[in-house]
């Protein structure tokens, strides 16, 4: 019955047959005889992608950057512009002539960084706009909520920025795919670097955003650092969006800890970091060592204003625009030419996800979700900015190099906030998919 909303049929509606079609709608719902072999099968000469990004709320800027990347990806897929990563992606089935001969069109929506709103927006794209694939988002809660929606509806979900282990762990779904790295990888990548920089005898104090992602990261970083020999003194939960973190920072001062780990993202990260620096934590000497701060997940976009405060602070990111491989260079060039500034890691992961999906359709020869799932599972590719990458079949997580970065001591421009310390090889961050549990289930074509 959702077939009623496919593009071709919308054309009919516009043509003035609205009344008749509307009357028909209630009678078709009970049977799925009408349904094609899969949901939202593109009938005309276009195929519709749904870009579901935060446009309001604290992550609106990040969402705007994601949308820029998607628009660029659509251009490149349709053969406009300089082609970006289509020139570097290997293997490549895309021809720059849309996907499977159909031009790519897109619809956008606002997740508001709320799982309810994100699902409503995704439903609109699926039910009304006939989107064949949903992608985007800037938080794990939204990613998990939309991923399960797409599983139920029977379309593919290519998640945007989501860092919680759960997205491809206990909440993984057959129809959902993640290119972005996760908290476990952050911990595994950071630990050796932290060991080199700060030694094995450290006492850590965690401040953790009090929601699922924060806990996920706290656990991963705790495990990774404790394996080094670090001691975790305390892990304190802070309310999301607390604004002023002073009441959580002061107990750190005399706790005997010599490392503060901020499991915060976005606005919380900027606030807690700025305030921690104001409390003189970075000038402090504890246990005969310099006190240090670690921000396991960096957001350059958010850190942009934090300037001075991030200098020398370690963290990890999925990708950074200063990388010198062919794929990154091609992407930064076309993004920079289009918009005048470099893309963020959120933009990168979204751009790559859109291309990977299109490529998988091309290779599968159909948009049918189950076939696309098959084409993506176990797919190995290169030239997308993170070196050789595997879309692991067991949990739909990408395995690739992870960047350990540090706040740049001598930035040359306002975008030059972070410097890449190390590109951690993929072997070091790979883990057994069984450790997070969960079940992919069966793929769903929605028909």
């Amino acid at each position: 019955m959702v077939e009623f909303f496919t593009p071709s049929r919308r054309g009919v509606l516009k043509g003035g047959a609205a009344l008749g079609a509307g009357l028909a709608a209630p009678t078709i719902f009970s049977s799925r005889v009408w349904a094609a072999d899969y949901l939202n099968k593109p009938m005309g000469d276009t195929v519709t992608f749904g870009f579901n990004v935060p446009q309001t709320g604290a992550y609106a800027d990040e969402g705007a950057d994601e949308l820029r990347a998607y628009e660029l990806a659509v251009k490149h897929l349709n053969g406009e512009g300089d082609g970006g990563m289509l020139n570097t992606m290997k293997p490549l089935a895309l021809t720059g002539n849309g996907v499977l001969g159909k031009k790519v069109a897109f619809v956008t929506g606002d997740t508001q960084t709320k799982s309810d709103a994100a699902r409503a927006s995704a439903k609109r794209m699926i039910e009304k706009d006939g989107a064949i694939m949903i992608t985007g988002g800037s938080s794990s809660g939204v990613a998990i909520a939309v991923q399960s929606l797409c599983q139920e509806a029977g379309v593919i979900f290519m998640s945007g920025l989501t860092h919680s282990n759960d997205t491809t762990g206990k909440d993984k779904r057959r129809n959902g795919f993640r290119h972005f790295f996760n908290a476990y990888m952050s911990g595994a990548a950071l630990a050796p670097v932290l060991k080199n920089a700060y030694g094995t005898d450290r006492k850590a104090y965690h401040l953790t955003a009090d929601y699922t992602w924060g806990w996920s990261q706290e656990e991963s970083i705790k495990n990774a650092t404790e394996a080094l020999g670090w001691e975790t003194l305390e892990a304190v939960r802070t309310p999301l969006g607390a604004g002023d973190f002073s009441q959580y920072i002061t107990p750190v001062l005399n706790s005997g800890a010599d490392v503060l780990i901020l499991n915060h993202y976005g606005k919380d990260m900027v606030n807690s970091l700025t305030q921690a620096v104001q409390f003189g934590l970075r000038d402090k000497q504890v246990n005969g060592k310099d006190f240090t701060i670690v921000v396991p997940l960096y957001s350059r976009l958010m850190a942009q204003g934090a300037g001075e405060n991030v200098k020398g602070i370690f963290g990890s990111t999925n990708w950074h625009w200063s990388l010198q491989d062919e794929g990154s260079k091609a992407f930064v060039k076309s993004f920079g030419e289009e918009y005048g500034f470099p893309p963020s890691q959120a933009a990168h992961t979204c751009y790559v996800q859109a291309l990977l999906y299109a490529d998988a359709c091309e290779r599968a020869g159909t948009f049918m979700p189950c076939a696309v799932v098959g084409a993506l599972e176990g797919h190995e590719f290169d030239g997308m900015g993170n070196g050789p990458t595997l879309y692991r079949a067991a949990d739909h997580q990408c395995f690739k190099k992870v960047l350990v970065v540090k706040g740049n001591e001598n930035p040359t421009s306002q975008f030059d906030i972070l410097e890449v310390v190390q590109e951690v090889p993929v072997e070091q961050v790979t883990y057994d998919p069984a450790i997070f549990g969960g079940d992919l289930g069966e793929c769903n074509n929605g028909a």
Binding site: A58, A60, L253, V270, T274, Q278, F279, V332, P342, S413
Partner: protein, 342 residues
């Protein structure tokens, strides 16, 4: 011991902000009888005065260096603030002190915003039900914050305090503690003093000037004052401007503590209403006392020791206090008996 002292300090600077916002809110409510949901937006606008001043002072001359190229092929831009190229080190110094300097700009700007708001919108709502006041000001708050978002983006924009105040002060040493035991950021101490100063000036203004006397009389009994032939309306307009300035200044000085973003007004709004109610609707000293009290309580509730007994207490303490106060002492801590008692 030191942990408790530190939490009291935390409560003081947080409380300073709460008190400043609540002061204006209760002033407007007491005089004009208006429930102003856009008051948080005034706080936010104040903060963005500081951002704007900083950006204006730091306006950069952009020259291009054709020898270096960005990864996307345009020449690298070299940015230098005009003020630095004109005034050299003096320029740097002005830039460094941009937050305190913004106070000078924020006062006239906030007065104008306040007057425009009152004359342009609020005055038509004096006789309307509270629900409508709430709605129209809530709508206004959304409009204001969306305008700011369009102009400045959604990301927080950290502002730096002057270098001398950027680090932490060893407060403990002054009171005979071990060095390094009780340290507190200079700027937060400054903020507390600033809040005290502003609160003091507002009280002095209301207590010591004739103007203030009339306003206070108007708060107590508006009609009678009107019967004396005093144009209370005009004075109340000024009061609204005053409330806007106080909220704005609270915002300006808060920027180095909390990097401003377009949504900060909403974040503080509910809280400041709770402060006003706890202090007693329309009571100025009550608002101040409740601001500091709730600031300190919130700090204590966040201590791990407390949280281990009452999990999640730091998330709800403010509301819990409000509920208890409203039930056992509905006129609030310092509300006058019989006035605004629900």
């Amino acid at each position: 011991m030191d942990a408790i002292l530190l939490q009291i300090l935390n409560g003081l600077d947080k409380g300073g902000a709460y008190a400043l916002i609540a002061l204006g809110l209760t002033l407007v409510f007491g005089t004009l009888g208006v429930v102003n949901f856009a008051h948080g937006a005034l706080f936010m606008l104040g903060a963005f005065c500081a951002v704007t001043v900083n950006q204006l002072i730091g306006l950069e001359q952009v020259t291009q260096d054709p020898t270096q190229l960005t990864p996307w092929g345009t020449p690298v831009e070299i940015r230098e603030p005009y003020i630095v190229s004109w005034l050299g080190d003096t320029g740097l110094l002005i830039l460094e002190y941009s937050v305190p300097v913004s106070i000078l700009a924020a006062i006239p700007v906030m007065i104008v915003i306040g007057l425009v708001m009152e004359r342009g919108l609020i005055q038509f709502f004096y006789k309307r039900p509270h629900a409508e006041q709430i709605l129209v000001t809530f709508g206004l708050a959304i409009v204001l914050q969306e305008i700011i978002k369009t102009l400045f983006g959604a990301n927080p924009l950290p502002q730096t305090p002057p270098d001398a105040l950027r680090t932490a002060a060893d407060v403990g040493v002054m009171f005979g503690f071990e060095p390094g035991q009780i340290v507190y950021p200079w700027w937060r101490l400054v903020y507390f003093l600033f809040a005290a100063l502003v609160i003091g000036s507002v009280f002095a203004f209301l207590q010591l000037t004739t103007f203030g006397m009339v306003v206070r009389a108007g708060m107590a009994d508006r009609e009678t004052v009107g019967l004396f032939g005093i144009d209370i309306q005009k004075r109340f307009t000024v009061v609204f401007g005053l409330a806007a300035v106080v909220a704005g200044l609270a915002g300006v000085m808060y920027t180095p503590i909390l990097p401003p973003d377009y949504h900060m007004g909403m974040d503080f709004l509910v809280l400041s209403f709770v402060v006003v109610v706890v202090g007693g609707m329309g009571s100025l000293p009550g608002a101040v006392a409740a601001g500091f009290l709730l600031g300190i309580l919130q700090s204590f509730a966040s201590m791990t020791e407390v949280k281990s007994i009452f999990p999640g207490i730091d998330q709800i303490i403010i509301y819990l206090v409000a509920v208890v106060i409203l039930l056992v002492r509905p006129r609030g801590l310092m509300g006058r008996k019989g006035v605004m008692e629900g």
